[in-house]
Amino acid sequence: MIRVQHLSKTYGEFVAVSDVSFSADKGEIVGFLGPNGAGKTTTIRMLSTYMPPTSGTAEIAGFDIVTQSEAVRRSIGYLPENPPLYGEMRVVEYLQFVGTIKGVASKRLPEAVERVLEQCGLTDVRRKLCGHLSRGYRQRVGLAQAIIHNPSVVILDEPTSGLDPKQIIQIRQLIASLAEGRTVMLSTHILPEVTMVCSKVVIVNKGRTVLEEQLSALPAGRSLEEIFIECVSRSAADTGHVAV
């Protein structure tokens, strides 16, 4: 599960994230929405322990991201916006490498690799070089590396960007299947994706959370687009969450 409390990140004078708070429980898929420059990727990078927050706390699977970062890294699967692939490695070799560095025991590694190859539809391209894969397959390999060590929390940064409609549907189905027994956080621009896949939505604007709500609790008469536009058109001077 994910518990974020008043996370902030400033680079000197520039405030990238001023106050982000939200939480997500096991089995939930959280849609993390916001306009460009809202601080989504910075927040995600803090949660993945790539960079420390300037202030605030967050817990991933019960571990603090600052004081227990190694435990967080064991419990988290992360797919950045561009899948971190080594182009000269074959898909199988790459997944074996990532499995090793993510802490999968050597006895269980072959089985883990087979499991994610199957789960992400990569069995046909297992011997292909990562650099020779199409965009859709690269995303799938990226997803595979995020789940190979069976993490309890999975964070995906724009997992369907650049994909064609058919690939988008396949990836969304994959993401929906991941949620069993896990917490999934999905950062995206694509609002229909959130309505289709997610159970909860968090909207950030200008570095702060402006909405955190279960999708089922949103008013029936208003579309997510309307709510989103309303949230992000508020000025930075506004504090607190938007009432829906």
Binding site: P52, A71, P83, P84, F97, I101
Partner: protein, 259 residues
């Protein structure tokens, strides 16, 4: 340990899939061969002169002194320029591909990353040095003039240790930058300064400063191995430089983890 080996294997694969390792190794072998060829030519010339003047009553030129030692000393200079080519991608390439984030957000320590990468570079250096070791070895079977075997082997070990030391310093420099060119140039400048660090000592008064400069100089420390003597002091020296380089690399990467 397992993580180190995994990263080292990945580094080695990456070196031999890209052109870099092939060009650096080939360049090193070609240059070394050319220098060796010239040294042999010069030696033949010296030999003929000494044979033409028997009344001078001196021993003929020694193959070890004129060819083997000269060869190993020249190799060090070539390494100063080639080793940064191998280490310049340490961080720059990972950042370019986005895989740096993968490594830093995995449950592995910074030491695992640094030592794994260093082991990959060390493997390439081992191949490079072993290949050119063949040149002085040729003298053993082909020379008409007697040649001592021991200095050839000890010189090889000295040069290998020196390469490993240079690589660790050059890797430390490249861990501070994300730009390959900056990493390569700064690495070369650092190694060149390190190579000439003993020059002020030659004009100094004997004392602490002179001893320190002579101790830290790789050229001075290589004198013994090249002449046929392996000392514990030399081994400790090169091991210390390697440790310092790896330590600095770790500190540089820690910055990325906790910026």
């Amino acid at each position: 340990m397992r993580n180190c080996i995994a990263i080292a294997r990945r580094e080695i694969l990456s070196f031999f899939v890209s052109p870099i390792a092939y060009f650096v190794i080939t360049g090193f072998v070609v240059l070394s061969g050319y220098f060796f060829f010239n040294l042999i030519g010069f030696f033949n010339h010296m030999l003929l002169r000494s044979q033409a003047m028997p009344f001078l009553q001196q021993e003929g030129p020694s193959l070890n002194k004129w060819v083997v030692e000269g060869f190993y000393q020249t190799l060090v200079v070539v390494l100063v320029f080639l080793i940064p080519m191998l280490t310049m991608r340490t961080i720059a390439e990972e950042k370019r591909r986005g895989t740096f984030e993968l490594l830093v957000t995995s449950p592995i320590s910074v030491s695992d990353i640094v030592i794994g990468k260093y082991l990959g570079i060390a493997f390439v250096l081992f191949i490079m040095n072993t290949l050119v070791f063949g040149f002085p070895l040729l003298l053993v079977s082909l020379a008409d003039v007697p040649v001592e075997l021991a200095p050839i082997f000890t010189g090889y070990i000295g040069i290998l240790l020196c390469s490993l030391a240079f690589a660790s310093l050059s890797m430390a420099v490249s861990c501070f930058t994300e730009n390959q060119i900056v990493a390569a140039v700064t690495g070369m400048v650092t190694l060149l300064l390190f190579y000439v660090i003993h020059s002020p000592a030659q004009t100094m008064e004997p004392g602490i400063a002179q001893s320190v400069l002579n101790y830290v100089s790789p050229v001075m420390q290589l004198r013994d191995p090249i002449r046929g003597v392996l000392t514990l002091q030399g081994g400790v020296y090169f091991a210390s430089v390697i440790v310092v380089g790896i330590f600095l690399s770790q500190r540089a990467l820690e910055m990325y983890r906790w910026r």
